[in-house]
Every structure is written in C-alpha cells, then in structure tokens.
Symmetry: D2
Subunit: 356 residues, 4 copies
C-alpha cells in the first residue's frame, strides 16, 4: 500500500491513541526489544569476600534473625539492574550469616535454593525434617517446596552463599511461600544426612526410590567427593587420558541421580579446577552464571577487563559475555547458572574462541 | 546470637554500606520478593477488536512497512506493566496489518512466533522459503530462528494477531536476530504449504523426518481441522461419550507431531468451544495466557469482574488470576500461554473451583 | 594355567558331569551362540495372495468361528522356523477371514495387534467398545490389553491381514489373555470410529487426552490420508523439494500422536510407494519385517534371489537380510517390523549399499 | 456364515494344504500360543556353588582358554529348556574360571555382559582398554560392543559369574561379534579403573561426559559402596525412617548415572539384603531373573517348593513364578533380570501377596 506522506499531527495523534488504548508500536522499539544478540542490562561484576564477610558480620551484630525477615541474607545486587537484589536477571546470590546458637525458622517456597560453603562449619540446614551438616566445600540443596530452616549449633558464627532462582520466579509470577515451624523440627547434628545415607552411593539407588524426580534427592554433595573427582581428572590427564574439559581444566557437574540431569529444574551447579598457570578458552554462553572462587588466586577476563580474584570472591557473568579465567595458583571455582532454563527452552548457544 | 539493640545510626550506616557495595538485605524485602502466592504486576485486561482494527488501519495509512521497522505490528501493553509493550511478563501479542500488495521483509530471531487469523485472508507468510497461506481460523507457526516474511497478494488489507515470547526472551537475555531478504524469497501463493503437504496427515510422519524436533514442523494448523475436532467432541458428548473437558466445553491443543508436546518450546496454543449457555469452572493456573474471541459472544469473569466479549476481543489473564467464561452464543476462543515454560521448569499449579 | 594334555576319558567325564548338573560349556558352542553377524533361522519367503485367499475361503466354508478358537486366522509359518506359526522369530502374520454376518467374539491379550486391509470391506472391529470400520488400505490398531471382536455386517465375506507380536511375547513369557463378550458389545456400523473423531486431526489432540500413552489412541489410519501423504511426497519431489526417502520412493510411518513414536511398543508400521520403474537401494537392518504388496507389480531382491510380486503377496525379511525392491508399475507396499524392540533395546544397525 | 458340517476328508485336505503352503491355523493352537498367563518352559531351578566350583576347577585343569573358544565359561542350562545353555529364555548365566596367569583374549559383541564376584580376586577385566580389578562383591559391566578380555595376574585361580542377554540376542537375531587382541591391550593392575575415577563419584559427572548414554559408563560397582548403601537402609529403618523395601529388606538397584535407569539396555542388576529371620512378601513378576546368594543362608520358596540356599548358589526364577525368600542368617543376594526388556516394551506386571 503506498502511503502518502502523513502529517506530523496525524502521526502524533496515532501514537497518542495507541497510548490511550494501551498499545505500543513495534517498529519504533524493534532494535531494543529484539536485538541482534543479547544486550543484558546486568553487567559483569565482582564482589570481594573481604568486603562481604565483614558486612555480614556487622549485620550479625545489628540485625536479629527470625520469623518475618526469615533469613539474615544479604543479596548481591547487580549494578546494571537498577538496585534490584538480583545478581543476574534470573539468579539470586547472597551471603547468609548465622551467629552462635542462632536459628533461622522453617519455611518453604516454590523457588529452588542451594547453599555453598566457602569457609566454616557448624550449621545444620534441616530440609524436610532431615538435618544436613554444612561444611567447607559442600553443596547443599533445597529444591522448590521443601521445608527448610537452619541452626548454628556452635559458639562460632558461620557464613555461606545462598543461590536461588528468585528473580526468575518473581518475573514469571510463579512464586509460592509457606511458613513452617518457628524453630527447627529436628535439632540433632548428625555428620551425614539421611538423604545422603539413602542416595549418595555412586551408581546405586534405593529400591524405594525408583523413577525420575524433578530435583536431586541428594541434600548434600560433600567436598571430599568433589575434590576426589577433580583430582582424578587431572591425574588421568597426567597419564595421557581424556578426562579434562581442556588442558589443565578439570570440571564436574552436580547431578540429579534419578535422571542424570541438573540438580534442580532451573539451576545448574558445577565445580571447576584449574591447574596453576592454566587458563580457559574464552567463551560466551546464552544465559547467566555466578562463580565463587573456592580456593586460590587468578584472574577473570570479562569482556575486555581483567580482574584478579581470590578465595571467596563472587563473579557475575551476564548472558553472552565473553569470559575466561587464568590461574596463578591451583584455582578452585564453584559456579551456578540458569543453564537448565536456557537449554530446556531451547535457547542455548555457545561461542568458544580457540586460542591462536 | 543475642544482638544488643543497635542504634539507628549503626543500622543506617550498615544499609548505606550495603548500598555502596551493591548489596541488598533480604529481610526488608522478603514479602515482595517471595510472596505467599503470585502477585503479578500485570493486570487482567481486555482489548476490543473494534478499537484495535481501526487503529491498525490508520497505522496502515500513516506508517510504511519495510526494512528497519520490519513489521507494522501494534503490541498490547498490559496496563500493569508500566508502558512496556508486553501483554504479560512473558508474552507479546500484537495486531499486525498489511495493506494491499505490501511486503514485510524477511528476518529470523530466537523468539518463537505464531500468527492467528480472526478475519480476512490474502497474505502469505513465507517460513524458511515455504509460502503459507493465512486464512480465517488458521494458526501459523514461525518457531525460533526460522526466516520469515509476509506479503499481501491482494487488493485488500489484512490484519491478524501475532503471538511471541519477546518479553521472556528479553528478560532472560536470550535474543538473537538476523535480517534476511528485503523482499520475499518465494512469492508464489499456493493454497497449501509444503510443510503441510509433508506433515499435516493425521498420525503419519514422513520417513525423511523421524526423530524429535524442538518445534512443530507443521507451519499451518487449518481451521477446517480445528473446527472438525471441536464439532466431533461436542457430538461425542451428545452421544454420551467422554470427549469434552467439562460439560459443553470442547477443547483441543495444537501439538508438535514429532513429540506430542506443545507446538513450540515456550508457547502453548489451544482452541476452545463453548456451547451456547455453557460456562467453564472457575480456575487459576500458574503462568499467563491470552485469549482471543474467535466467534460468538459471552462474558469473561476475571477475578471479581465480569466483562462481555465478542469476536476479536483479546483478554490478558495474568498468573494465578481466577477466570471463567460464560457463553451467550456458541463461543469459540483461541488461547495461547507460557505453560511450556511453567510446566517444563516444574512450577505448574492449578486450582479449580467446582461449582456449588 | 598350563594344562597338561587331558585324556579323552577325563574330558568325556567332565562333559557328562556338566550334562548331569544342567550345565553347558560355552567354548564348544560359541560360534553358534555368538555369531559374527545375525544368522537367522527364518528365511526370506514369499506367500502369494492367490494362494492365501482361496485357502482362507475354504477355511471359511469348513471351519466355524467362535469362542475357543476365537479367530479364523491362518498364520504364515516361516519355512526356516520348523513349523512354528511364526513369520519371523518376533512377528506373527495371518490372513483372517470372516464370512457374511459372522462374528469373532471379544477378548483381550497382552500381545499387540493390528489389521491391514488389502481388499474388501464390511467388517467392523470393535476395540474397547468402539466400532471401527475396516476398509481397503486402512490400518487398524488393537494395542495390548484392549478388548476386541469383529463382525461382518454384510452378505459378503471379508479377509484381511493380522499382525501381532505373538512369537516375541511367547518367547519372553509375557503373555496374558482374557475372554470377553461372546458377541459384540456394540454392533453399530459407523463410518468413523469414536477414536478417530477424537484423535485423527492433524497436529491436534483433545484436551481430555494430554500426556504420553504407550500406544496410539488412533484406532484407524485411513487409506485416504496415507494415500494423500504419499502423493504429496512424490509431488514435492517433482517440484524439486526433499520429501522422498530416495528418488521415486515415498514413505510414511504410522505414529502414536501422543509421542511421535511408533504406534505400539513392539511393532512399527509404514507404507511405501515406489514410482513405476523406481528401485530402492539395497539395505539390511537388524530386526525382521513383513511386507505386503498393496497395489502394483514389481520384484523383491532378497539376498541373491529376485522374485516378482503383485497385489496381496506377503514377503518375510529376516534380520540382516539384504533386500531391495524394483517397481514395474507404481508399487504400493505396507510393511511392519519389530524395529521398536530392536531400537528400544539399542541393537539397531543398518547397512545401505549405495548404487554404483 | 453358516457352514455345513464338513467331511473329515475335506478338513484333512485343508490342513494338508495349509502345511504345504507354510501356513498354520490359529484356532488349533490358540491356548498354547496365547495362554491366560505366562506358561514358561523354563523351570525354577537351583544350582549349587558346591557343585559348580569343583566342575569349573576340573575344566580349568582339562580345557585350555584362548582364541576360538574365547572363554572358560560353563553355562547354567535350565532343565525346562531342552538342553539349551540358557538359564531363562532371555538370560545367560555362567561360572567363568581363569587359572593362574591365564588370559582370556579380547573380543566384543552386541550382547550386554556383566560379571559378579562371589569369591576371590586377582583377575582384571580390560574393558575398551581400561583394566578393571575384580574383587569379591563387585559388579563389573561390559555393555554391548565394548572390547574386553580378562587376565589373571596371580598364582591363584579365580572364578566368577557372567551374566549376559545371549538367549534374547540369539532369538531376536541381533548378534554381532568381533575378535580383538589375542592378549590384553593393557596388562597393568590398578586398584581402581579409569572409568571409576572419572564416573564413580556420587551425584557428580565429568563435564567431558554430559548427555545420556545407552549403558552405564561405570565399569565397576564396588562392594564397599553396595554394602554401605544396604547397611544405611537397615540403620535408617532402625531409626524409624522409610528406607527399606519391606521390613528387614534392604535393596539397591545398580544404575546408569547418565540417566538414572538400568545399567544396560536389556539387563537389570540389584543387590538385596535380608536381616536374619526376615522374609520377603511372595510376589511374581513378568520377566525372568537369576539370584545368586552372596552371603548367608536361607530358603527360597519357588511356587510351592521351598529349598535351602547358601553362599554361591544360583536360583533361576522364570516369568510369573511366585517367589519369596526367608533368611536364616543375614542374607545377601545379587540378582539380575530382563526387566528393562519387559518394562521398556510395556509388558510389566507384578502381583504381590500381602501377608495374612
């Protein structure tokens, strides 16, 4: 249809009428809405453990924990996201702090959660009534709609990292929440949880638990297993066998043993180990991730910027941001991401830059 | 840990330090972030075809279509979402208008798209080089990363509804876009697309296409099949056999014949028919949906509000909003939703109120 | 361990003791038990319709049909299988014959069954109470544990082909059987079954039937759809588009619309059409198959032997037997096989000989 | 059709003509072919370790092992199966014996295989070049088409149980076989295989190995893990938590960690532990199984017959045979079955008799 040159007035009136009728033209916003490649508002950013821990400690002194506020958790707020307590648009990451003998009351929610421990011990998280000890290097799961509370059995405070899909759940309006016991339903302090006793045996499943489950039934992935798996990959590499992701780079994915898939429907968790002086190939992926340095020192390259990191530091990697890591010492890294969302809905792409 | 009553200054300083370090406490925002049940910002809202069509027509007169703006599509902007061109947080819905002999150029994007035709004909959408006629009652698919353009072969304008996952893709930073031919790669105007000739035979698949595909290979779901399926359900009900979803309520889901699942990874599409005077049980679901009245008159109950609807009207139903429909005449409704996202990531819940 | 040369007596005594204790050495039978490639006892064989039909007719005159014998079905007995009524080790194929006004009583069994009609009409098979007309070119399903009986509503006899997994079920001791009504639970004679009215709409499924099912809910795959699908493939080939399996060779697989997979857990069914003078590439597959010529004339090459075939002829193709087909006229072929067993248990291999 | 009473001659001629034409009537064989419930030819039977081991030892003295015969394996031949070396129609079980310093050469085959060790050690099975130590209580896998050979590194003989799907593969004509190295491609004797080092970490998978695999990549399931898993189930039961299959009956299934499913496409493997004096509920399942007593004494009830068993004894349980077990001491049992075939093809049924 040949359109005669419209007057500015006519166009202005059209757009005004759109506005009144709760309509928006596509043609004026196409580039923003449908960019050539992802244009995340979230930015690459690094939070220092040396900053986080003292602030959590001060919160421990000034802010009580209990019913209502529920948790003394301080969220990483990506500088690109306008003050929202989101580390990326889909993921939430926080440092949680529990003082000596403190208890965080029980509740459950549709959001999937995990905890990862970079230092300390002495807290038990009670998941659907099962007390789960939290120790350095452990990954602890609280899949959606599992009741959970935490209590510190010691005279020392303890801090750890929480990871959840709060932003995703909030955005998609899929949130449910229910308060549970004000205290802890089981305050025993076993070394090993019942879920591990039933489920954490390599390649074995209890006959009472056949069939696929939405989330992993293993409440705790213990450091000794993760460490051993990584150590073996590097040894196998030394012996000349294909076992590492790339030279000097060992990596495991935490899985749901009932399916072989990710631990929870929205969150992937992995642990990576770089040999001293090793580096990863630069890559970018659709979807966002958060690394925490577990041990060692090195450098993150995020886009064009290179930043040194050390134990406890947290690194936000937005979607389609190129990243690579160089290790100074042996470098151990925990990482979680929204990859199950991206892969499950068929949006996954990866671009890897082979070294020249 | 017993915390001594902190001074206001100390607390203020703590929160200031959080802010400086890009941190946010959870305890002050818990109720907002993690509500008891979904609290969508999107609101139930109805757009009238009698408003939409004339505005699209005026846009047809005033705004050219072509490379850059790409499409003369006017998006429904949910009044609760602050002016964003989103019908719900995950879904995009627009009326698209193409004048006589006009062409919308080819492009492709990671967003999944469909078109649904409530009136008119004469446009062919060319999907990966396959010209697909668009006629009243047809559902036309353009799954992610399929090239597509449209051209109007007639001397009459044509308008239809576009549905996409633009908001979801934008939020999760999974968007890719690529320009294609400025014109149309195949301007023939066959009655039936090649994809239908290969795939739209009940219960049959071509031997060249075995194996599961992410999206349906059927480019067009024709009205005659949809209508026949609904008519048969009501006849079977008349004959005393279980075939309808509830009394007087026939419904079909459009599926991907290679899996039996939804047509595209993020979007569910269904067609519902209510007998005259029939009504649906009030229900609410996690996830959002958009109805378009295809034919007939009736009333939507959205929360406590009851609103009459007629042919072409579009209805946004946010997550966990109770809805029901009452038919005055036989009432035909097309509906699409983000159910594959919600179900795939295990957030699905439904609450159905049985009639007293 | 170095073994001193045993005396014949010692060895003889050892084997005798094995025998007494119900033991068998592997080393003497390895080549038979574990051959280099499949060594089927079943042989390629062709049964002529011109022989089958008159014999069925004579059986119709001499043998009543009713409770106990249940069916007037005459099974193809592969000459290599020692008189067992098996067309291959896993599959059963028979011609079934029903005289004017005769009824075969209802029963159900764990065996999966289908019927395919090469000529005639007038019988209804009643599957779980749903009367299904049988007409030339139709594929009718009776998945495991569905009640079924047949009745001839006309004054003409009718014959068709039955295919089941009887040998497989018998060998694996998975057979269950239950008698049903002595007559027919619904003797109406509708043109279209209820299952088709609910399920046989391309790409659509009723909302009352979401979720995967073990077997296809479509009781009848009608000839007009099969024929149209094949015709379109050849037309698309004429127009220069990839649609055929190889030049001049159109083919469709009958599928379970709830999964996109095979119609039943153990049986694959397909229909092939060769243009006049077309030929297939020689191939062999793990697993056995049975072809029936539906229309036309041509030649089957089975191993080194070439045999002419015409309408109604049935061809057994044992596992790993090389086969190819040459068409004299347009040649239409129905084929069923045990491919879901072979593929599901991961034994599938195919070897295709490209033409010189 | 009313049939006039046929003369005996006519009928006789009809059946003779059937015979000549390689046809068989269904009506005369229906009950045999399609019984009311499974009528296995295989019978329940128990082989004594005290018989098997000395015979294997004599074979070790009299029969060399090497290329051609390949293995010194003595198969259990079910008395109901007419002398075939099959323990059930689908399963093969043998005692294999390797003298000091002997080697069984490498080969591969489409048949899936495992070994289970009831006593002894000192042999390494080399699976696709990976040496896997065999020790008491271990389950060792050799999935289809993996090269494998065995060598005894010690001055003591060793015997173990082999389990394969040879009968099923033979019956379905899916067998392929290929000779490999005459010796052993890697004669090192590590305590732990490379496959375990890469894969046998609870809930973890190497990033080099994502995606589902047909068979488990874990070559060895070690006794210490199996034992620990069973011990924990009984402890949890003692503490009042649901962990056992029934009172006093712990059980684990060996799984493929990439899917959570069975270790191989055709074979299920489990380990059961009964407390002293515990007994299982009588049950019967479609499909066949073979138990080996690993430790302890008790009684098997098979149908109406009760038989005492002790360490090493092997018990064949045909399809649909009722079985139960009573433990005198703590009773440990390894069991394998064809359940993946039966379940995968949808023939599974179980009948459990609750105790009065």
């Amino acid at each position: 249809m040949t359109t005669t040159q419209p007057s500015d007035d006519e166009l202005e009136q059209l757009y005004a009428d759109f506005y009144t009728q709760h309509l928006e033209p596509l043609w004026t916003q196409l580039g923003t809405l449908m960019p050539i490649a992802p244009t995340p508002k979230a930015v690459p950013y690094i939070w220092r453990w040396s900053t986080l821990y003292p602030l959590a400690q001060r919160a421990g002194e000034l802010v009580p924990v209990g019913r209502g506020g529920e948790r003394r958790a301080i969220a990483l707020s990506n500088p690109g996201l306008g003050g929202l307590p989101y580390v990326t648009p889909t993921l939430w990451a926080a440092i949680q702090y529990l003082g000596p003998k403190e208890t965080a009351p029980e509740h459950r929610h549709s959001q999937n959660a995990f905890r990862f421990v970079v230092e300390g011990e002495g807290v038990w998280t009670v998941v659907n009534g099962d007390p789960v000890a939290m120790r350095r290097g452990d990954l602890l799961l609280t899949p959606g709609w599992h009741f959970h509370g935490h209590h510190n059995d010691t005279d020392q405070p303890m801090a750890w990292i929480d990871g959840l899909d709060i932003p995703f759940v909030h955005y998609t309006d899929t949130a449910f929440f229910e308060f549970g016991a004000d205290g802890i339903t089981d305050d025993t302090t076993p070394d090993v949880s019942r879920s591990e006793r039933l489920w954490a045996h390599p390649g074995l499943r209890p006959l009472v638990g056949v069939g696929a489950r939405d989330s992993s039934p293993i409440a705790a992935y213990r450091w000794e297993h993760t460490d051993a798996a990584l150590r073996e990959q590097l040894s196998l590499e030394d012996e000349g066998f294909a076992a590492t992701t790339e030279p000097g780079h060992a990596a495991v994915r935490y899985t749901n043993p009932t399916t072989g898939g990710d631990v929870m429907p929205t969150i992937r968790a992995e642990f990576h180990r770089l040999r001293s002086r090793a580096h990863t190939r630069p890559r970018r992926d659709v979807g966002s991730a958060v690394f925490q340095v577990f041990d060692g020192t090195g450098r993150f390259r995020l886009g064009d910027e290179v930043t040194p990191v050390s134990t406890g530091d947290l690194v936000a990697v937005p979607s389609w941001t190129e990243w690579s890591i160089e290790a100074d010492t042996q470098l151990d890294l925990f990482v979680f991401s929204d990859a199950p969302i991206v892969e499950g809905l068929r949006f996954a792409r990866t671009q890897i830059t082979e070294k020249a």
